[in-house]
Amino acid sequence: MLSYIIRRLFVAIPTLLVLIIISFMLMFAAPGGPFTSERALPQAVMDNINARYGLDQPYWKQMFDYVANIVLHFDFGPSFQYRDRTVNDVIAQGFPVTLTYGFWSFVVAILAGVSLGVAAAIRHNTWLDYLAVGVSIGAQVLPNFVMAPILLLVFTLWLGWLPGGGWNGGQWQYIVMPVIALSTSYMASIARITRSSMLEVLNSGFIRTARAKGLPTSRIIFQHALKPALLPVLSYLGPAFVAMITGSVVVDVYFSTGGIGQFFVNSAFNRDYSVIMGITILVGALTILFNLLVDIAYAWIDPKIRY
């Protein structure tokens, strides 16, 4: 097991390198640059800026220096768009925000999603099933960019219960709407996956045996059926968790949380090269890490899986 983990971590290094190289190439292929503006800058000013940020160097050298700085100093460079900040600053400020609302979204999505899915499966083809399926399909088809303005309208303007946005250090009032907006579609997916896999498990031989033994339904569900039924959910959760804790453009834009999600899009539009790279690497590394964790959890849940 340990050697498996070490091996996986080793493979992560070339994976990240490939990610960096491809991102770099895509980035420089895009027309314009971080200092393109309506008023084309005089050449002298442009030269000063390029020299300051090392943009006058050949691409391969920029890439090499960039990677070297990360490896040697854990320095992701200065932001090109926000002159007073480094990429480390941008991530240090925005990531805790998305981590917070992403984590709660994850908790809500799992609790609500699994409950809905299990309820639908054990009451297969009853009104409860239809209700659960209806709710999850509704949540799935209502994209968060539609959901967010509706939440704002209802909870802020009409009811006046919640502040319309901001973060204020993560007080709960500011987290509620981001969590609802972010968690619903994940909840819906989890509910659907849980339901179908639960149905499959409930029809399998060992459950029939358990019923024949006369075990109470609750024990059959929670002790025997739930664990194997959650395996497909688990493989969905790894990437979903990363997606949630790295935030969402829509949530950040509508609720002005200051989270890192909006930088995915903004940094690309602004050609803020170093921020694009920093966030890409962050998401890449987290994805690799959580996929590994999911695989480890697999082995723990399913005794048939051994590495």
């Binding site: 895009a30 000013v45 926000y82 002005s256």
Partner: protein, 545 residues
């Protein structure tokens, strides 16, 4: 003192304080208008995007400049109408040749740590902006201001000491410019020319603007800045004119989505926000005392690619003229935008102080007459039903640019039979395409750097690096050069506009307006300051009846 006595004394103190507060509330009125003031003097407004920088010498956007004007004070300020009034300087003298400005600083101006504001700090600030090591994107503004040797210093060809700024003594600053520029004093209200505390900048490096490190000489100081969320500034007690400041707290909330911002305004979380395109008529009807529109010094236009890489048809002035005439500006302004914008037939914004729009034949025609003439011009140029003109129009991705492009494409099709292909491009790509003349017709928007026509008309000169259409008329170049040295350049500017209109150098479409929702208690907003250079210390919140 016993516990009871303490309690009683405490209660008494609290009661007296409360009464005092109530008295203060009842009596607090604005010294000039006499309006009753609200007890809570805090102002919260929305900004679209995070600040690229709030460091005066690095600032490059309008919103960052508004913050800098609160935190720092330059030599001169602007009043509500945009007139230049004394700031740190009590005034200035100009040499007879118009090249040397001598500013006298006020001795009572102090930084928030008690240090005197000196002429040397202004020299430091301006040198810092020009210094190649600072790599400021706004170094070019010093060339707009005309500060002697600015270009050469920024290019690294001269040391910063050669820049035309000098401290004669602590209270006297001398600035030398390269040519007489009547608008020069106004450029000193711009953050690029603000004073700098090099001791603090050296001590703290990039973090000198953090709330715990910053020293300011403006009416407000920085209390909190959470990037991408909010920026809070509070009254600076050390400001020399602190008694005149009324607003205690000014909060900028960064809200990227304008509809979300509007909802939050309606929920009472904001005192000011922008009205999303097209919503002004509805909001003006529902909230007549809150929805306002006033001129904003930008012009919206389409440019033709007249360079060698452009289509041949567009090098024909008749074709350009026809395309310009066929655009029904009234429809764009009234039906597409509907926010108090004005149709444009010339480039310079109509509200620029002292500007008089010259007589342009097209402006006095009806649209039917324009369409007739446009058809005739097009036929003359050899285009018609059997030989239609095909043209590509590019604009940067935005709903309102798209709506305008669709409308204009339709007008060209109906009136002239022109087939227009629309292409939107994301901003940086768009600028790249346009800057390299890889287009046929492109959208343009230009905002004034200072309130004088040359801020627009310089774009018509062949040497302008902003002249993306590569319009080239030696007569215009000569007139603009002459205007620079003239005491009364108005007639020269008018001539330039007339020539550009006759050449159809661009298609002016409309002059911008600021369209905002403002809380009815927010007073003194300078709607007549065309460049929207506002100062929080001039604003106040009135008591709601």
């Amino acid at each position: 003192m016993t516990f009871k006595a303490t309690l009683m004394a405490g209660t008494a103190t609290a009661l007296i304080a409360l009464a005092g507060q109530a008295m203060a509330d009842a009596h607090a009125t604005h010294p000039v208008t006499g309006q009753a003031l609200a007890s809570d003097q805090s102002f919260t407004y929305r900004v679209l995007d995070d600040y690229p920088s709030i460091d005066p010498q690095l600032i490059q956007d309008v919103e960052g400049s508004s913050v800098a004007r609160d935190l720092f004070e330059g030599l001169m300020n602007e009043d509500a109408e945009g007139n230049v009034i004394p700031g740190v300087a009590t005034g200035y003298e100009v040499s007879e040749d118009g090249l040397v400005y001598t500013f006298t600083l006020r001795p009572e101006a102090k930084w928030s740590d008690g240090v005197q504001v000196t002429a040397q700090q202004f020299v430091d600030g301006i040198r810092r902006a020009a210094d190649p090591a600072t790599a400021s994107e706004y170094a070019w503004f010093l060339e707009v201001a005309g500060i002697a040797n600015a270009g050469a210093v920024t290019a690294g060809e001269m040391p910063v000491e050669e820049l035309g700024v000098a401290a004669i003594d602590d209270m006297t600053l001398e600035i030398t410019i390269d040519a007489p520029r009547p608008y020069f004093p106004q450029t000193s209200t711009f953050p690029t020319l603000f004073p700098a505390r090099l001791d603090k900048i050296e001590e703290f490096g990039d973090s000198w603007m953090d709330p715990e490190n910053i020293v300011v000489n403006g009416a407000y100081t920085l209390q909190e800045y959470t990037p991408a969320e909010k920026l809070v500034r509070v009254r600076n007690d050390m400001y020399w004119n602190n008694e005149a400041t009324i607003l205690e707290t000014v909060t900028a909330l960064i809200i990227p989505d304008e509809n979300a911002a509007l909802t939050r305004f309606l929920a009472g979380e904001l005192d000011m926000t922008d009205i999303p395109a097209g919503q002004y008529p509805r909001l003006a009807e529902e909230y007549p005392d809150q929805a306002i529109s006033f001129p904003n010094s930008c012009s919206y236009y389409y440019m033709f690619n007249m360079s060698d890489s452009g289509p041949e048809a567009l090098s024909d002035a008749r074709v350009r003229q026809a395309l310009s005439m066929a655009v029904d500006r009234d429809i764009i302004v009234e039906n597409v935008l509907a926010g108090g914008q004005r149709p444009a037939y010339t480039f310079t914004h109509w509200a620029i102080p002292g500007w008089e729009i010259p007589d342009i034949p097209m402006a006095n025609m009806t649209q039917a007459e324009r369409n007739e003439q446009a058809k005739a011009l097009m036929a003359e140029a050899g285009f018609g039903e059997d030989n239609p003109l095909n043209i590509e129009l590019i604009y940067n991705t935005s709903d309102s640019h798209a709506a305008i492009a669709v409308a204009i494409g339709q007008m060209w099709k109906q009136t002239l039979g022109v087939e227009t292909t629309l292409a939107n491009q994301e901003w940086a790509t768009f600028l790249d395409t346009r800057g390299n003349q890889n287009y046929e017709i492109a959208r343009g928007g230009w905002c004034a750097d200072y309130a004088e026509p040359s801020t627009y008309l310089d774009l018509f000169t062949s040497s302008s690096s902003y002249n993306d259409g590569k319009y080239n008329n030696p007569e215009v170049d000569a007139l603009m050069a002459e205007a620079k040295l003239s005491d009364d350049p108005l007639s020269l500017y008018q001539e330039v506009e007339s020539i550009a209109a006759a050449d159809a150098a661009i298609i002016p479409i409309y002059h911008y307006a600021s369209v905002k929702m403002m809380a009815p208690t927010l007073e003194n907003w300078p709607t007549e300051n065309l460049l929207q250079n506002w100062y929080s210390r001039d604003l106040y919140i009135s008591a709601s009846e």
